[in-house]
């Protein structure tokens, strides 16, 4: 009934995922650059509300895809953008960001040795820049409620395409995509399940903080935008299992996605097989190009001992989410608040955990 048309601008073309059927009850929602959804929404709304006039500089701390999305949208809106990053930023990403006109500041390498590491140094530098500028706007993806709010467009699209959705599985970082998509979808389908995928040594769902190799999911700090009550189940996937699943996604379905997509695919595929009458959608946040020299390189995988490891057939279901166990573990979070899970006794007595 509707005529297919053109996009008003490049970032508009990044809004909707490609919805691809992987099995009779399993679909992948494949994004080229999922962070474009909150980046575009936050900047456009700020401009509408008069918080981002032409003289205002956008400032954010990021070394990932959110920065790229901001840089692209800043081109359309003709705004200056300063990104605070660190020396480990991917060199190709750095070149792309600067080509888009962004100023990328890297905190000195010595910061890694100080308390709080790069993350603290980046936040300090961000505050300094904000103070020095006459007019600055910081999108703050981890706390800005417009981040989850932006995903109504995804929930709308999934419902238009599928009508009924019983489970959404996806990686969790800022909390924006899963909490925003599922939270808004539940206005229509309150029973729709949410299965979050985290990485070992991420604090999001109770692991002790530690070094993490797997990129694109997991955090060292708890983001305000993560609403734990959204989640029915949480999976933790170790790097080797995530990489193997990412390659299987490519080999079996010709889908060239990043490792956070692979981790979500592993959990979603298992959930769909365990629930054959339910329709499952897996959120896949970015494509494989950034990982061609790593996840898609057998030599790189072999050098890290990730090659040839058999993928577990199912996760280890645990009773205590704070105890890391195996390369793939899962826990029935049951839509509870963080403190209800972590300090059940205190929560039952009505005290914050």
């Amino acid at each position: 009934m509707s005529l297919r048309g053109s996009f008003a601008e490049a970032t508009d073309a990044y809004q909707l995922p490609k919805l691809i059927r992987l099995d009779k009850n399993l679909y992948a929602a494949c994004f080229t650059l999922m962070k474009m959804i909150p980046a575009r929404f936050i900047l456009r709304r700020a401009a509408q509300q008069g918080r981002l006039d032409p003289g205002t500089v956008i400032v954010e701390t990021t070394s990932g895809t959110f920065g790229l999305a901001l840089a692209m949208q800043a081109v359309h809106m003709d705004r200056r953008l300063i990104l605070v990053s660190d020396p480990v930023i991917d060199e190709r990403l750095y070149r792309r960001l600067t080509d888009l006109g962004a100023v990328v500041e890297r905190v000195p390498a010595e910061a890694a040795k100080t308390a709080g590491g790069y993350q603290a140094a980046r936040l300090d530098r961000l505050e300094q820049i904000m103070t020095d500028l006459d007019a600055a706007f910081c999108p703050r993806q981890y706390s800005n409620p417009d981040n989850p709010r932006a995903y109504s467009i995804v929930a709308e699209y999934l419902l238009e395409c599928l009508g009924q959705i019983d489970c959404i599985t996806g990686p969790v970082g800022s909390g924006g995509s899963m909490c925003g998509t599922v939270g808004q979808l539940r206005a229509l389908l309150p029973e729709c399940r949410a299965v979050g995928v985290d990485s070992h040594s991420s604090v999001l769902f109770g692991h002790p903080d530690g070094p993490r190799e797997l990129r694109g999911l997991g955090m060292s700090l708890m983001p305000d935008n993560l609403n734990h009550r959204i989640f029915d189940q949480v999976h933790w996937v170790a790097p080797a299992a995530a990489y193997t699943a990412t390659r299987q996604l490519h080999q079996r379905h010709a889908l060239f996605m990043g490792p956070s997509s692979g981790a979500a695919y592993l959990a979603g595929r298992w959930w769909a097989q365990a629930n054959p009458d339910a329709l499952t959608v897996v959120m896949m946040p970015d494509e494989g190009y950034r990982y061609q020299d790593t996840v898609y390189d057998d030599d790189w995988l072999a050098a890290r001992g990730h090659l040839g490891q058999p993928l577990p057939a199912e996760p280890v279901m645990v009773d205590d989410p704070a105890q890391p166990s195996g390369s793939w573990m899962a826990y029935d979070w049951a839509r509870r608040a963080y403190h209800e899970v972590m300090s059940p006794v205190a929560a039952a007595q009505g005290e914050p955990g």
């Binding site: 109504s152 709308e156 419902l159 009508g163 808004q184 979808l185 206005a187």
Partner: protein, 326 residues
């Protein structure tokens, strides 16, 4: 046209200029809405909008008796919106070769007032059509919609009767066309506050939150699919979700018991009048058996009054077959 070929004799012949005929128009009522909230237009601006649940069994008929000697429009007392509609419509025809100066509007209606069936919108719509009819012009449905909103500030979309639309009821514009018709539904209607009336314009417009705007966007996507695929089950979920959001603004007594009653009888969901007291239990009319008697009993047990049982329009082919058989 509703009244057929001959116009009834005017009650006040002195207002009728000799030689001029009367104009006639009609409009159906509605049984509240399937969805109402805030939605983005093509430019990304949020507008209040709704999707009407038509009620073809009720409606208004208007007759416009023109006057060439008197400015102004007279009509039944209390129908100020219809009089205003006639005045605005007359202005539209100021450049017509033989415009009426003013006139008188008579309205016959079987639409109850104040319960959310759009009594004033059907009066207003019928009046606009009657004035246009007198001038020998058939206005487009969108034009009638624009004039209706001008006359009564907010208007359901009963005048757009050839398709299912998302209608910005305070701007008089169509935001989206979902399809040509609704899927076949049987709706068992009831009044959740019998005897109480709601004056639409006295209600403050619902102050929807930003989070609710996001939820309405999601409902819009689901409704798009429900109408395109004739999925009554999905449409019922959309109506129920919209009704639940509305509970924050004009709460319906017994909303959850009604939803529960509907689902117990195998229904799809509950639609409501977002500025009225009526509600409707939605069933897929293609189901082999719908226990409307049981539903009616359940509604009465909740202390509510049954209004109408809306059946889908019979397909033309069936009627032809019946005629051939008789």
């Amino acid at each position: 046209m509703w009244l057929g070929g001959s116009s009834p004799a005017p009650a006040h012949p002195e207002l009728l200029t000799p030689g001029l005929t009367a104009g006639i128009g009609s409009a159906i009522a509605h049984h509240g809405e399937l969805m109402q909230g805030v939605f983005e237009d093509d430019a990304g601006q949020l507008r209040r909008a709704l999707v009407t649940m038509p009620l073809p069994g009720r409606g208004s008929q208007a007759v416009f008796y023109p006057s060439q000697s008197h400015w102004g429009v007279v009509g039944p007392s209390g129908l100020t919106k219809a009089r205003r509609a006639a005045i605005y419509t007359l202005r539209e025809f100021a450049a017509h070769p033989s415009p009426a100066k003013g006139g008188r509007v008579e309205i016959t209606s079987n639409v109850p007032h104040g319960i959310g069936m759009g009594s004033s919108t059907s009066d207003v719509t019928a009046t606009i059509k009657a004035v246009a009819d007198y001038h020998g012009v058939s206005l487009s449905r969108e034009e009638v919609g624009r004039l209706a909103v001008l006359a009564e500030m907010a208007s359901d979309s009963v005048m757009i009767d050839d398709r299912v639309v998302l209608f910005a009821h305070r701007d008089g514009v169509v935001l989206e066309t979902f399809g040509h018709r609704l899927p076949p539904m049987t709706v068992v209607g009831c009044d959740t506050a019998p005897g109480e009336a709601v004056e639409t314009l006295s209600l403050p417009p619902a102050d929807y939150s930003d989070a609710e705007a996001g939820e309405f966007q999601v409902l819009r996507g689901a409704l798009r699919r429900a109408i395109a695929t004739e999925d009554v089950g999905l449409l019922g979920k959309v109506a129920t979700a919209s009704a639940r959001i509305n509970q924050r603004y004009l709460p319906k007594p017994g909303l959850e018991p009604l939803i529960e009653l509907c689902l117990r009888y195998g229904g799809a969901g509950l639609q409501i009048a977002h500025s009225g007291t009526i509600a409707g239990l939605i069933f897929d009319a293609r189901r082999s058996r719908i226990d409307t008697d049981g539903c009616v009993l359940g509604i009465k047990e909740l202390g509510f009054a049954v209004t109408d049982i809306i059946e889908p329009a019979r397909p033309q082919a069936t009627r032809v077959a019946q005629l051939a058989a008789s």
